[in-house]
């Protein structure tokens, strides 16, 4: 029993994945950019509404501002080097789904799933860490009951948004309007 319990918790993504906070090549702080400066997630992760991947921004996006802002900063040296040499910055991936599970960001944004629902309070993180287990059962919790977790589509990047008392009825209306049909069959994600 104890062994089962041991593996049940310590073997699950709740323990192995939540809190994963790898060191990045550039000390980019989301707390500064997304939190204090209030930049929208989509300014950098620009293709998230169109594509399956939420792209990590290219060096050019950083240089859009940092050509003029803090152009001599030592922390930004790898970024300027990357821009000058044409060699990309090698970020360490934090939120990893296995290769056989296919996730589509744009479909979730279209439905009204907030960034914070899966990624946590990124605007409070100096270094990004994984906030949710991203396990299949965790995904299915929402897929089976989306009305608990949806929000208005124009609030998806709002980190502070809280569900109101009428969350369920509002969400059910949204589900109907947008024809939201989260797959619970294997073919939804496993190809």
């Amino acid at each position: 029993m104890a062994t089962v319990g041991f593996f049940w918790y310590y073997g699950s993504p709740k323990y192995t994945d939540v809190g994963y906070r790898p060191i990045q090549p550039v000390p980019f702080s989301h707390k500064l950019h997304a939190g204090d400066l209030g930049m929208d997630c989509r300014y950098c992760h620009s293709k998230v509404e169109k594509s399956t991947h939420a792209n990590v921004p290219p060096t050019q996006t950083c240089m859009n501002c940092h050509k003029l802002i803090l152009p001599e900063s030592e922390k930004l040296l790898p970024v300027r080097e990357s821009y000058a040499t044409g060699r990309p910055i090698e970020w360490t991936r934090v939120h990893m789904l296995p290769d056989y599970a296919y996730f589509d960001h744009s479909a979730h944004l279209r439905a009204g799933v907030g960034c914070v629902s899966c990624h946590g309070r990124i605007d409070r993180m100096d270094v990004v860490q994984q906030a949710e287990p991203l396990s299949m059962s965790w995904c299915l919790d929402c897929h089976r009951q989306p009305q608990k977790h949806l929000r208005p589509v124009n609030q998806i990047t709002n980190m502070d948004w809280q569900p109101s008392a009428e969350q369920i009825s509002f969400a059910e209306k949204q589900i109907k309007e947008l024809n939201i049909n989260p797959p619970v069959d294997c073919s939804g994600c496993h190809r």
């Binding site: 192995t16 994945d17 994963y20 790898p22 293709k47 169109k50 594509s51 399956t52 991947h53 792209n55 990590v56 921004p57 290219p58 060096t59 050019q60 990357s82 821009y83 044409g86 060699r87 990309p88 910055i89 090698e90 970020w91 360490t92 991936r93 990893m96 296995p98 290769d99 056989y100 296919y102 589509d104 744009s106 479909a107 279209r110 947008l178 024809n179 049909n181 797959p183 069959d185 294997c186 073919s187 939804g188 496993h190 190809r191």
Partner: protein, 985 residues
Amino acid sequence: MEDKDKFDRHGYWRSLNELAGQPEFKENLGREFPETVLEGLAGLSRRSFLGLMGASLALAGLAGCRKPVEKIIPYVTPPEEIIPGIANYYATTMPMGTDAYGVIVECHEGRPTKIEGNPRHPATRGAANAWILASILGLYDPDRSPKIIHKGLENNWNDFVAFWRELDKKYSTTGGEGLAILTEPFSSPSLFNALQMFRRRFPRALVKSWSPVNYKNSLSTLENAAPGKLKTVYSLDKAKVILSLDSDFLAAEPDNLAAAADFVKGRKVDSPLDSMNRLYVVESNYSLTGAMADHRLRLSPDHLSGFIRALAGELIRRGVNINLEPASETPSAFSFDETWIRALAEDLSAHKGEGLIRVGGTHSPELGLAVYHLNRALGNIGKTVTYYEARDTFDDNLAPENLLAKGTGDAISTLILLGVNPVYASTGDNEISSALAKIENTIHFGECFDETAEHCTWHIPAAHYLESWGDVWAADGIAGVIQPMIAPLYDGRSTVELWNLLATANDETGYEIVRRTWAGILPAADFENKWRQILHDGLLDNSASKPIEINFADESKIVINDSRATTSGKLNLVVVPDTSVFDGRFANSSWLQELPDPITKLAWDNAALVSIATAKNLNLQNGDMVRIDDSDTAVPIWIQPGISENTVVMNLGYGRTRAGRIGTGVGFNAYKLRHKKEISLEKTGGRHHFANTQEHGAMEGRAIFREANLEKYRRDPKFAEKMVEHPPLKSIFKEHSYDQGYQWGMTIDLNSCIGCGACTIACQSENNIPVVGKEQVINGREMHWIRNDRYFVGESDDPRVVIMPMACQHCENAPCESVCPVSATTHDKEGLNVMTYNRCIGTRYCSNNCPYKVRRFNFFNYTKDMPETVKMAQNPDVTVRFRGVMEKCTFCVQRINRGKQAAKKENRTVRDGEIQTACQQACPTKAISFGNILDPDSNVAQIKKSDRNYALLAELNVKPRNTYLARIRNPQPDLMQFDSDMEKE
């Protein structure tokens, strides 16, 4: 329910062993994966294996717990049009000699992964054949040469340019004396410009073209009466009676895609009131065209001319105006089947202007001319067969053994070989390699360091067409541009760039050259827009040329020779290009090598095919090695029911010695025998092991392939369903209703399927299907998700052939789902049988339970040694499977998901035809239809209402979503006795 006697009654068999009821065949039937010697010898028992595993697990501990580090590598400056995760589609054209195939290439993040046909291009019409689909693997072939080689050492392009400029200076003074080019034929304005410039600057240079398989051979005499080189366009959709004289137009002739699509238009039968065209085939080999024939006559090649003569005689008797020269010699004693020829002549003469006679393109110009005259007399010219001027075409066919022969060969001091491999592909045991050694400078331009490159002083790697700029004219003159999908992977140059250098000594990029050509063709005003339009569409609309008239100066008598008498004791040798490797250029393509030949079902091999009677006379069995004449070459025998008597057929393209890791040493070189018309065989006593898939998954006795004559169909339209009697189908479980949302289903029209195998390769390309190699194919472990099962019907030495594509039937009551212990295979609410690879533990019970045997198991880690470049060819939208995991057709669920997501984003439902499975898209005849069966207006829902619709093994109550449409044949009433096996009902 089933009775074993049904097997005999229907008369469908897959191999001679099955027909003879050999005990090995019956034994192998029970096992999906036949026993091999190795299995018997494996010492480790299951019990000890499990014991060992248990112990090692206890010792393994938690060593693998560390999270793997994955990197995300974004762009520095992103290209505007690339969105990571979304594929881009670009149009280009695949050149194959003088022919052009318009394609659309799916590119992920700047690298091409899948090729599809361009719906607007007349040569492909949205479809593709196995060669086009497999060319993506050719791009990523790890055996392509990476660097320029000069006398055995690596070199670079700039040094070559300097070298050429030296030669250019030298030859300019002599007008090109001693300079020679041997190139593969082309039909391209840019290359033609370069050729003309080269000829102007070096008037005394020898410039010749050559290809080992030349489908324009039969046109050459005709071209003497025409304004220039010809391209033929056949309108098979307008023909009601078609005669093919050894012309495999459905699979091998250059217009195969268009011919297949047009031919099948005349065979679509939706109601008993529809009429069908009729196909007569006369051939020595068994080709796919022969398999589709309503009537097939096997005739050895020595009698072909005599047959045409006899046919001409019958046509004259029916009032067709043919000015036939009387036979000069005593006619041969061979008597043709009178009834057959008479019925054929009846049909042809009754359909003047609506008939078509086609002779194989590789046949002699005399036969080509004779057939032209017959077509002309029947009024078919301009209606079903039209001639066009071949623009900018260079195709004057001089064999290398003639170019390098004593005399001309001695005068050559610099020879440039562009895209040709004469050391491998020239005919007979000639001395090309030693002739090459005598020439001071030999420059070889080709994709890999092949047999010819070994003997040349320079080797320049050729860029693949997917990496090149270029242009090419299609058959009816439609212009197409070749644009690159990716920068050249290696240090190669494209054909236009090299030609330009040779002609002008300038080193320019392909882009500049091709743009300059088109600036000369397109009107100057609005050039940029027109140029972008041509790149976007893949072709220039409204650029088709006008058909031309061929006028013969005098109305002399037509000469058709009589049958050639074969020396007794000798056999006729027929050498044909292969359906997989063509003339050998695709020998290093693992997909094409593993694709079984559609009729013989041989994979990874070729053989000397003989008929049953010939084999009996010479006491030959499958796999016996025989010596041809007195040569050292020994080839293995394969007995092929249905090829003509006294004939040996061999496929070209095998026996290569320097093709790369896949193609080297596979099969036997038929080029060395090609010059022989007659041969004798002698058993050497050796044996050869073949990988043949004909007996894999045999399904005995049951009405698998259902067909009927047109007469029977008219009398009884629902004959297909009635062929199997079964009690009412009731399930003990409560069945799902499947009445909401999308419900995916598919139909396969057996009347349209020609068995070409394009679907198999398309599926392989789209779904990352691994290649297992010859040994594993022998074990029955080939991984094709959709396969073509070939059945023979009728008497053993002159059977009919029917081909049935077989993929996962996506049964609603799937027998595989209920037996999976870990629920790795489930049913989704849209009707798909879904496979979750990560859950599969490899019990293989699902495959055991599948009545169609469409589940494929990864016995080994087939992707372990995948070369880096081949990894680039994998489709990122589909999981790459590991060892121990079962896989099968998913109805291209990645395309379904993509289609649904795209539709959702636009707040609409998926339109019919928007989601196409890879097999459906590639099929030249559009035999496969896929879509939402709940939508009454969808194509697939309407096809499923057809009378010909039947579900395979429906009596098992598996409720497959994939159904078939039975085949209808259209035999001539006078020849009905030849099809008596169909009339037993």
